[in-house]
């Protein structure tokens, strides 16, 4: 029996190292099950114009315009959404001005999205400040076309008025969109982004701090975990997807 317990403990330690219990559970093959995508943070390899965190240049299909690269084709309005576009989410969100917003309305431009809640005592202000640093690091032409979107976990307390006050406090200009939504829609978005969150007894949310760059098609192009880190890779990712927008504009 001791051996079995050791096996269980070993599997647990594997998890502690941030690896998939399933993929890494070689000592217990009976329960080993292979998730079809092992990486917790990287988007699928076939996502359009993916920029890996370690990459220093844009993916070839974004840097070089080729007619044969479908993911770099211009995005005509009304064209079907790509298979990996987050804009397939049909949820209706409300912004801090009380306007109804669908994520698909963000299509056609680089978008940087993060999840937060307004009464957050520590991480969220730092996360927003990271986003501001990221924005400042962008060339002005890219900065002008990039939207920054903050989506609240707190479906109860973060009313439009609270979000408006949050905007005023920083302040956040018109490039920023602050959204609130229904609990299931928040959960869906968090699931797709890979953001974990949990409300604690003090009604604070424990959550993953994650900055996600979406390309103009709404596909995840880059993710930056953590706080107060180097955001230069994320900035490069935004630049890479922005190039695609300008190429598309010229083509039109």
């Amino acid at each position: 029996m001791k051996t079995k317990f050791a096996v269980v403990l070993l599997a647990l330690l594997v998890t502690a190292l941030g690896r998939s219990l399933l993929a890494g559970d070689s000592a217990e093959p009976s329960r080993a099950a292979e998730p079809s995508r092992a990486s917790a943070l990287l988007p699928a390899k076939d996502a359009c114009c993916v920029v890996a965190p370690a990459a220093t240049t844009a993916a070839p299909c974004c840097a070089v315009v080729e007619k044969s690269a479908p993911c770099c084709d211009p995005l005509p309005a009304g064209a079907p959404l790509s298979a990996r576009s987050l804009y397939q989410l049909d949820a209706k969100w409300t912004d801090d001005a009380g306007q109804t917003v669908k994520l698909a309305s963000l299509r056609g431009q680089p978008v940087v999205v993060a999840m937060f809640f307004a009464s957050c005592e520590y991480a969220c202000p730092v996360l927003v400040s990271d986003l501001q640093r990221l924005r400042a690091a962008l060339p002005s032409a890219v900065r002008a076309q990039t939207r920054f979107v903050l989506v609240s976990f707190d479906v109860v307390r973060d009313t439009t008025a609270v979000l408006a006050a949050y905007r005023a406090k920083f302040p956040l200009d018109a490039a920023w969109t602050l959204l609130r939504g229904e609990a299931t829609d928040v959960q869906d978005l968090a699931m797709l982004l890979g953001v974990k969150y949990k409300q604690d007894a003090r009604s604070q949310f424990a959550h993953t701090n994650l900055i996600t760059v979406l390309n103009p098609a709404g596909e995840i192009a880059h993710q930056h975990p953590g706080l107060q880190g180097d955001v230069s890779e994320a900035a490069k990712a935004v630049e890479a997807v922005a190039k695609r927008v300008s190429v598309a504009a010229k083509a039109e």
Binding site: L22, A83, A123, H207
Partner: protein, 270 residues
């Protein structure tokens, strides 16, 4: 003191009622819908908690499917909802491998018995099925509360032989063809197969392993399931619960896994 006596009588009556034995859920709650069992209100002690979190979390009474959802039931769902068929499902909502062992979009085939639990389904697909069935996925606290019961008592942890039984599943390889659902011995609440057939999705699986202190850092590695976290765990002997927590923390909502299925839950009518 005219009111003292009735109070004493009431207190005595209450004491007698309590000491008469546990009140079974079915005696006090509306009967469960067909194929579901009542999990009475109670407490769930999270496996790992932060210093801010209470030791016990109240869980309201709810209905839980007696057994996992079968291939036949999921087949009916995908027939009624073609966008969840294998060739049509969005890769955003289910990874490659979704229902991979089925013979076709609406055909189970010889390797997939109709009465066996459906597996290789993503969280998104499981949740869509539950909504279609007029139900929902159970929350972690709800599922764990149901699974904490033994065969004859509400607390399997103290039931002779039950903790050892709960480990048996981990010692056996997953068979090529999964057995039919409903063959497991019912637990105290009447639920079957919770600990003996497949892993099961829960609605809030993505809350697993988030530490309250993750606000202070990335929340992805340092504060999750490290040694300090395990040392703060409440019940170090509940290995199956640790395994489930570990599994949940490793999942993403689009993942499909050959031995991960689900069952549905329902809230009690208000």
């Amino acid at each position: 003191m005219p009111s003292t006596l009735p109070r004493l009588v009431a207190a005595l009556a209450l004491t007698l009622a309590v000491s008469a034995g546990p009140v079974r859920a079915e005696d006090t709650l509306p009967p469960a819908p067909a194929g579901m069992v009542v999990i009475p209100a109670g407490n769930y002690a999270p496996l790992i908690r932060t210093k801010d979190e209470p030791e016990r979390v109240p869980v309201a009474a709810y209905y839980l499917d007696e057994r996992p959802v079968t291939n036949a039931e999921f087949l009916a769902f995908v027939r009624a909802n073609p966008k969840w068929q294998r060739s049509r499902v969005s890769p955003l909502f289910a990874d490659r491998g979704y229902l991979a062992d089925w013979a076709g979009d609406t055909e189970l085939g010889p390797r997939v018995p109709a009465a066996s639990p459906v597996v290789r389904v993503s969280w998104f697909a499981a949740r869509a099925y539950a909504a279609w069935a007029g139900k929902r996925l159970p929350m972690t606290a709800e599922w764990e509360r149901a699974a904490a019961a033994g065969f004859t008592t509400a607390n399997g942890g103290t039931e002779p032989g039950f903790p050892a039984y709960a480990l048996v599943w981990f010692s056996k390889p997953t068979p090529d063809t999964l057995p039919a659902v409903g063959l497991g011995r019912p637990n105290f609440y009447g639920a079957r197969d919770l600990l003996s057939l497949v892993w099961e999705w829960v609605d809030d699986f993505n809350t697993a392993m988030v530490s309250g202190e993750s606000r202070g850092d990335t929340g992805l590695e340092r504060t999750l399931f490290c040694g300090a976290g395990a040392a703060g765990a409440r019940d170090l002997t509940n290995y199956p619960a640790f395994m489930r927590a570990g599994l949940r923390s490793s999942l993403r909502a689009s993942y499909v896994v050959p031995n991960l299925g689900f069952r549905c839950a329902q809230s009690l009518p208000l």
